[in-house]
Symmetry: none
Subunit: 207 residues, 4 copies
DNA sequence: TATGAATGAGGGTTCATTCAT
DNA sequence: AATGAATGAACCCTCATTCAT
């Protein structure tokens, strides 16, 4: 079955996208040269500019895809009729899955997007704030249902939850640790959930 | 009392250091130009090279100072005979104090150092790992004393604790939020501690 | 009636030619991109290379057409048995007519061809010199007939005549002024003729 | 006598300026590369950017100098109490003198500035229009004094006068003709003046 | 004939670093 | 110690031209 032009175009663009992920992961946004990306993608220099207006456009595509998917997921989770804890678990697993399937992208999120990067411009900051808000909306559901304590504002709980998740991911990403199998993945998820919900203090849990 | 040459040298170097903090905070490591730093410091830019071998040297100075102080603190905390919770509180307050007194440095830590930055070279990664280890050593004390639960490896607890702290700081730094007063600072510290120790779940706390 | 292949070819080539005129007028030779011209002509830009060897070839086509027609006219005028003044008038009107009918071409002549353009290569300079020579030949007829004064070399008179004409056109072209009607056109022609022939000094004319 | 820093700075900038004139004359604004200019000036590539913000800035400097001097001259001429014909002569001689002393600049005026150049942006067009206006103001003086005929608008006379002058210069510049001596220069000036004032028609002059 | 993807040389600009004074 | 002129490698982006389909 022959692919039509549009498919081919998308494929090539996708190749550039993936190459960019890899190079940016290795060098960071700044040091990633268009020449590197082109070489990684196995195409000529100028062709990158056939698919992307400029370097910024390419970087934004990465950001938009990342945040776009994440926002979508958060909306989905919020609207689901799940048990509250399953919502948190779903979010954690999304990150872990992404790390498994697109480690470069996850790496970039951790090292380039989540905080820093010299590119911390206003719109990029807004991405981050939106992420916090959407997550907070979910935690707020937990408070309303009486699952989460309400003696703290929901954003406090949000920071702690996301911080825990983020640091787990950071350690894995920066240490280049692999997720061995699904059991391992579940273990991590359960740990984060358990400590977040029940705390780190000894001897407080029933049974 | 006349200052001697060495003092003068240190003063000037310090001026460059502070200028670098400010410029790097505003532009990031990459976009921070030697010319900017010199201008901010009120000196000619050739002079920067009398005090620092090159840009990397200057950046490393910042990193070394940051991590050096932090390591020192962690060692101190570990060796203190405090109650365990006071150790954690001391660590949290150190970050909050630093944010109050040297917001630029804190900003750089959050946005440039803590994870990423394009400059994520091996030695810089090691800094981060050492930080995790030293903190883990303290949390491990908590487990040994029976204050912290032991059904998780100490590094799991470390990630959650540091993640919570880090995200609180990130939000403040990125949102340019000020710490209003000591009460506010204590509130934040207590929140982190309380949720870390007792968890986010509702109705589980005695009294 | 079906057009044959050659006609079609000429039509398409003509479309490219006209598109080139428009784009070059707007952007100049240098900034005019093949892609712009193709888009203006409503064809794919690879196709331009079927009709023209390269960009230079296209530009030369424009130059050749312009100069070719002009030389032809000058030859015609020279060989005509008109009154001398009618010859000059015919030349002036040719330019004004061209400006009316092909303003883009006229614009390019004024802004790109007549003098300079970065493309001032030897062959292009020769075009210009030939133009001067052919015009001079006509003015020389005027001197021989005793209509024009002979106390100056004919090329001096040529420069003044063409300079006057050229500057009139320049102002119109650069100011994007339209020729309102035939009376307006005649007025301009007569002004140039009158001042060229009788001078700008006051009170010297009979009657 | 030692030169101070500012003098040296100006000297170097001037060297770049002159080098730019030469290169632009040879290649045109577009084809003139910063590398060429630097080489011509005998300095390194980057140094050009020490003195000029960018290529445009350098080009504008040339334009501003050219037009600035010309405007100044036109103001001076207008305000002088000279005989009217001496005013026109002064203007012609200014151009001829400039051609003698700064042939590169004159060349650029003719081939790049006066009309064309792809760089025909709004502000550059305005330069040209101002030039026309200032000249027209002088010719208008001639009409008011009764030296020039008033049956044509002053701008018509302006176009013819400037056109004549411009074309003389063009021919010299494009033909790379030298002005042999002062007598030659005067001859040219008188020719332009004579034909402009008394016309090209034979047998109309007194005596 | 027609398309537009693909190539890569060319050139502008930045900026860390060196160096003469 | 101090200045800032000077250097040139690095890298982004453009666009004429080629080529596979």
């Amino acid at each position: 079955m022959k692919k039509n032009g549009s498919d081919l175009k998308k494929e090539k663009q996708s190749a550039i996208f993936e190459a960019a992920l890899k190079v940016i992961k290795e060098k960071g946004f700044h040091r990633a040269r268009i020449a590197d990306i082109a070489e990684e993608a196995g195409i000529s220099y100028g062709l990158v500019y056939h698919y992307y207006k400029n370097k910024d456009d390419l970087c934004n595509d990465i950001l938009n895809q990342w945040w776009g998917r994440l926002y979508e997921l958060l909306e989905t989770i919020r609207n689901r009729e799940d048990e509250f804890q399953d919502k948190l678990r779903a979010l954690i697993l999304y990150f872990l899955d992404t790390y498994q399937q697109k480690p470069d992208l996850m790496n970039i999120f951790i090292t380039q997007i989540s905080r820093s990067s010299d590119n911390l411009t206003k719109p990029r900051l807004d991405f981050f704030k939106t992420f916090l808000s959407l997550t907070e909306a979910i935690l707020n559901q937990g408070q309303k249902k009486g699952v989460l304590r309400s003696d703290f504002e929901s954003y406090y709980l949000t920071y702690i939850f996301l911080g825990a998740l983020d640091t787990f991911l950071s350690v894995m990403v920066l240490g280049d640790q692999k997720i061995k199998n699904d059991a391992h993945k579940d273990k991590i998820a359960e740990t984060i959930l358990e400590v977040f919900l029940n705390g780190a203090k000894a001897g407080k849990r029933e049974a």
